[in-house]
Amino acid sequence: MSKINFLKPDKSNLNTFLYLGSFLFFIGVLDVLLNSFFSLNITGFLPGFLSFLLPLVLGFIGLYFIRIELSGIKQLDLLNKHINTNNFNAILSLLIIFIILKSIPPILSWFFVNASFAGDSKDVCTGSGACWTYIKVWMRRFMYGMYPNGEQWRINLSFIALALLGSVGYFATDKFKKYLTLYYVVIYPFIAFLFIFFFISGGPVFFDFSYGIIAAILSIIIGFFIPSKFKFYYFLIVPFALYILLKYFIFFEEYIELGKLDGLNWVETGAWGGLSLTFIISFFCLIFCFPIGMAFALGRRSGFPLIRYISIGFIEFWRGVPLITVLFMSAVMFPMFLPADFFIDKLVRCIIAISLFEAAYVAEVIRGGLQALPRGQYEAAKSLGMGYWRMHIFVILPQALKLVIPGIANTFLALVKDTPLIFVVGLLEIVGMLNLAKTNPEWLGFAMEGYVFAAIIFWIICYAMSKYSYNLEQKYKTDR
């Protein structure tokens, strides 16, 4: 055994340094561990300052001793490579380990150990932890806003139905794959609108289910005799035509009484709220802002100067102002711009405002994709004799959109995160409901629980979206 130089650990005394280093490191971690989990201070006999710093010093010396290059022990080499490359990194690693150890117990105790889950009144919340009872009691409000309790099944049913209809793309066979774009761009939003307008709102009804079912059955029966070549267009047009024919030209029906869909009560949009409103607004803004944004992106790249300047003006205007002022505008200024007897619902105004706002961002993202395409693509398409629209629909846009998937996903994420701003016009989605619940005299002092709850929900939604967009990006990544 050669002489040990403690200032310079090397391989010849590997075992000595390894045992000594791990021991010191272990003591340092143990001190913090005991301190945070059992509030035991094993170094309490030392003066306060020293006792505070001791774990760090011990851990640092320990890590210094085990920093031996090419020791031949796989785990040790990995450890050195990842957390212990030099003195500075060693201290940072130690600090992070200590911070994690220190913060676990209070977080655990707040979330679970001392938290109260049972009961349905404030009295059970006596512990020092979180009061999840509060969330439990207010759950319906956070999810559905002021929507009447007895009617909430309508929202659930609509969302489930829309989710099922939305997942059609995964189950479509190759035969129907080519119609998917049409389905998602035109038909699905239309169905969603019908659901929300008639079912959730219970708004004025001009769709009569009995005639609808008759029309559907009739058109399916006749559909068997239609050559398959025309079947798609047949089903696009004939059922609606049949319905109108039946209702207005054969039976001469009037509108059904306003606000009744076979006994559904009308729920005004002011009562909508909570997480479901977040979804509704995000969904519609997402649907509207995409085509508008695409149009303005193309407009900005257009060869016509006037169209280009109008597009630039539109995009720069919306990108230059904060969303909150846009919502202010939709609330106080926009009604002035409409005829006196013309009323647009608050929620609709909100959706229009957010859609226009986000459309400008979508337009810039898509423009980035259009610019990134090599000129050759345009020239090749033109040389095949394609016109402007054919070129863009079949050659340019499919490639450009593929390029900008991450950017568009980020814009949509921003949209979801911006929805809480609708509190400006008096609509209360989940964050707004939290602020309302927080001021309820029976439930004062639980702001923290509410915000943590909403943060978790938003985090899950946004994180899932960003991961999904990453997968999408990988899936459509093609070598160019």
Binding site: F304, I307, P322, I324
Partner: protein, 383 residues
Amino acid sequence: MNFKLKDIGPQLMTVIAVVLVFGFFTYNAQVNMESRGIDFGYGFLSQESSFDVQFSLIEYDGSHSYFRAYLVGLLNTILVSVIGIILATILGVIVGIARLSPNYLINKFAAFYVEFFRNIPLLLQIFFWYFAALRALPLPQDAEAIFGISFLTIKGLYVPAFIWQNFNVFFYSVVAAIIAIIVIRIHAKKLQETQGKQTPVLLISIGLILILPLLSFLIGGVSLSFEVPVLKQLATTSFIYEGGVSLPPELIALALSLSLYTATFIAECVRAGIQGVGKGQKEAAASIGLTPNQVLKLVVMPQALRIIIPPTTNQYLNLTKNSSLAAAIAYPDLVLVFAGTALMQTGKAIEIVSITMFTYLSLSISISLLMNWYNKKIAITEK
């Protein structure tokens, strides 16, 4: 120029559509305002505002004009934006570099921070800090002093105020130091380029910026004293700190959440910028004998900055626009003071909302013009 009907048609249609929409809106606005007896005009700006603002940088009370109220709001917006930008840049650069660290723990810690804070709506974060976190602070009478001079209480942060004597002498000395440093830098660069001599610019700069202001203290008759906030009892249970500078909790919550949120985006910009510099560049620089520090300073950073700065400016703009969320926690910024209170009092919806939007718009457009100019200046001229 060859005009074709084919070219004119679509443009004409677009213009007609735009004119029709705008005409429709203006016509309705006129009719509506006439029927409600509101007249359009910006004359109200010089009228007495008769409302108070909690926190303002310039002297203001109800007897001042609406224009003054607008200025108060604007200055408050700028104040919180500047604080937010400084904090966000510091934090963002640190986290961005940390994400590239070979140290597994630091790397993951930074990644966790970024993923955590950017996936939660900013408004929610502001509410969290303001209504939940800062409300847990002690009352003024229970507050413990930070370094004996500052107090963080539920009513805000109280820090000592600087009381200067002959402040302008001090100010001029700092300006003189900065000018001297710039001159020396230019000179040193010339020396390096022509004769290859290196001057310790950094040391000289630090020396200058320390010595000149110090001289102003010794000779120029400048003196500085602190006014430490002192606890004062108003009633049996009501205490307040007097003296010093007080930062309201709204400002703290807003600046904190804005910088924590924006720092995540800046961190990503920094990371992308440093990663965007090719490995070959670093290797080439090392192979001609530059030290690691020189590689970073002369090769990596100039190229990385070219990638980092444009998106980062965009984030600064976003931060400034996001500062309008202040209205949610009653921090008196432009939106709250002007588009909120002033609008309620005057009812001049169109004028006030348009002024507010125009302010933000001119701010954004001027910054983006500056950015375009900068981009053109630093762009690599390719053959």
